[in-house]
């Protein structure tokens, strides 16, 4: 009840000097904290730059020895010390292309089913199941491809393809197929086509989940207007949803392509691992990742080793480009959504 009533406030009053020191300390800690966070964010950048720089540097032996011929030569002769990357690069592109050709329509169908066709209660569980497919480790795809799928390819699928599309002949020696060289050859099961199909199974969940997400961003007033005019579901999807999301859909396809290009284990099991020039989709071949996985631990010659690391650099640059395109296209939709 006396003059010192104001000091009732909890505890003794803090001297001004201490409070200033405290806030200076806080400011310093904040700066330190922020710096530490920034450093960690830079690790992401360093990982990418390091992956490119490290593989380029250790691949310098091969780049120096072969120059541009590294990209144009088909000979991969471990004993003769000649390494050309054309076959692995070609194999990577062909298998990924086969995968994309199969996976894009299927993913589109799945995304359509999950956004426009299926009854509401079915969408979440089916969507989750398809996404589980993306969670299965790639080595499981490889083993399944090798032990289960490859025999089916060589006994049923490839003979059919050869007889109907390729250079198949009947008992009388008359051609039964269309003679397409892509589908000619011997039905040995392993090869570019089988690898492409296994890759397709792997990337379908990635592409379809991107497509589903972007389809869901289409404003419902657009779709409802079309329905009100009497459009069918297919017309709404093809004429309204797809034009609205075109860039992002292509981005999703590129994302799947990026995955397919860099996939190692699934491909290594089924591609056949041959550096010979393939003459059809049935031929065994090799991809960049499969070549590295197969040969690196046995590569004792420095030039061989360096060539494999150089291949890793090539793969990194190709996938980086493809993924960058994918991300840029996906982002365009995101920014429009923000508007």
């Amino acid at each position: 009840m006396t003059a010192n009533a104001p000091s009732i406030a909890a505890g003794p009053p803090v001297p001004v000097k201490d409070a200033e020191a405290g806030s200076r300390r806080d400011a310093r800690n904040d700066r330190l904290f922020r710096g530490a966070m920034l450093l960690c964010a830079l690790v992401v950048l360093l990982a990418l730059v390091g992956a490119a720089g490290g593989t380029l540097w250790e691949g310098r032996l091969a780049f120096k020895a072969f120059g541009w011929h590294f990209f144009t030569s088909t000979s991969w002769d471990v004993n003769g010390g000649k390494f050309g990357a054309l076959m692995p690069i070609l194999g990577t592109l062909v298998t990924s292309l086969v995968a994309i050709v199969i996976a894009v329509p299927v993913s589109f169908g799945i995304a359509m089913f999950l956004t426009e066709v299926a009854p509401r209660w079915m969408r979440a569980p089916v969507g989750t199941a398809i996404e589980l497919l993306a969670g299965i480790p790639s080595i499981i795809y490889g083993m399944w491809g090798f032990f289960v799928f490859m025999p089916i390819m060589s006994e049923h699928v490839q003979p059919w393809l050869i007889n109907h599309l390729g250079d198949g002949t009947n008992e009388a020696g008359k051609a039964t197929g269309l003679g397409l060289s892509f589908f000619s050859g011997a039905p040995i099961g392993m090869g570019l086509l089988t690898a492409g199909i296994v890759l397709a199974v792997m990337i379908v969940p990635f592409i379809s989940s991107v497509m589903r997400e972007v389809f869901l961003t289409v404003p419902s007033r657009l779709k409802e207007s079309a329905y009100a005019l009497g459009s069918t579901r297919w017309e709404v999807l093809w004429d309204i949803v797809l034009p609205y999301t075109r860039t992002a859909v292509i981005g999703g396809v590129f994302l799947g392509l990026g995955r397919a290009l860099g996939e190692t284990m699934a491909v290594t099991f089924v591609i056949g691992n041959s550096h010979d020039v393939p003459n059809s989709l049935m031929s065994p071949g090799t991809s960049i990742a499969a070549t590295i996985a197969n040969e690196f631990n046995e590569a004792s010659d420095p030039l061989h080793r360096s060539s494999l690391i150089a291949l890793a650099f090539v793969l990194f640059m190709v996938t980086f480009t493809v993924l960058a395109i994918a991300k840029l296209m996906l982002r365009r939709l995101a920014s429009r959504e923000g508007n």
Binding site: D30, A41, L133, I139, Y141, I309
Partner: protein, 290 residues
């Protein structure tokens, strides 16, 4: 208007309508078949793994080393490697996510890092393994468990960065402002308020990252390499389930192939269990928020 003209026009409209319905039916049928195809392959692959794996799993594989036809050292190796990967990637990833969400939300620099992080997320794992090979294995002249852990950390990192960033951005701005207005320094706000609020989401990210790296084979081939004996030494090569499965599956011997399927089943079960768990946490958290 002439009555006949009217009838003809109706017929044309009807024909058009029928054609449109037909196209629609084909498209809907195709969508259904595509989905069935996806589900068919999923169950086919899972069924193969379960069938062949479960007939090969018996108690002895948990007691013997890979050299003696068991998987014990590979299982322990995978646990160790995954733990190392997560232990390295989690603090860095959460911190990077914090930077993106709290300090560089809309800045160009933050956008650039986010962009690169998304690319790292899909970068070929074998190239990241090769990078760690040039970074750690070549200077040390030996593959090692540590190198394997770093390679796995590089794969886990972008997953954790992305989920942390997203989960922290979901924390309402009012919470930050309330804490800041009490005079709490920003780092304390982040550590004591934001992390606590975003914890379930960040945990989900870490679990998803774990599910991703536990089944990775390619980045381990030349970093952790393989080992047929017991080893927990971080500077020595170490066995791991995926690499052991890869080695066994390439043999011609039926017993070894069976062992590969047993390992494949263990990996698949572990990975699927983790992703279901992660989804469960995310879902429960979402329900709690609503």
């Amino acid at each position: 208007m002439d009555a006949r003209d009217g009838i003809a026009a109706t017929r044309v409209a009807e024909r058009m309508y029928r054609r449109r319905s037909f196209t629609n039916a084909i498209a809907l049928g195709f969508a259904g078949i595509a989905t069935l195809l996806g589900l068919f392959f999923l169950s086919w692959i899972l069924w193969t793994t379960i069938q062949r794996g479960s007939s090969a799993i018996h108690p002895a594989i948990f007691r013997k080393m890979t050299l003696e036809g068991g998987l014990l050292n590979a299982i322990v190796g995978t646990v160790l490697l995954s733990f190392m990967g997560i232990a390295i990637a989690t603090p860095i990833g959460v911190a990077a996510g914090t930077y993106l969400s709290e300090y560089a939300k809309l800045r160009k620099f933050g956008e650039a890092i986010r962009f690169l992080n998304d690319i790292l997320l899909s970068a070929p794992s074998i190239v990241l393994g090769m990078f760690v090979y040039t970074l750690i294995v070549m200077p040390a002249h030996s593959s090692s468990a540590l190198a394997g852990g770093v390679a796995l950390a590089l794969i886990a990192l972008p997953v954790i960065v992305r989920t942390s960033d997203e989960m922290l951005r979901l924390v309402p701005g009012a919470m930050r402002e309330a804490a800041l207005s009490l005079g709490v320094p920003q780092w304390k706000v982040t550590v004591q308020v934001l992390y606590r609020s975003a914890l379930p989401g960040i945990t989900t990210g870490v679990l998803l990252a774990l599910a991703r790296i536990a089944g990775e084979t390619a980045p381990l081939l030349f970093t952790a390499a393989s080992n047929f004996y017991w080893s927990v030494n971080p500077t020595k090569p170490i066995a791991s389930l995926p690499v052991a499965v890869f080695n066994f599956a390439s043999q011609a011997d039926d017993a070894q192939i069976a062992l590969a399927w047993a390992g494949a089943l263990l990996i698949t079960l572990f990975v699927l269990l983790l992703s279901v768990l992660a989804r469960g946490i995310l879902l429960r958290n979402k329900v709690a928020h609503e």
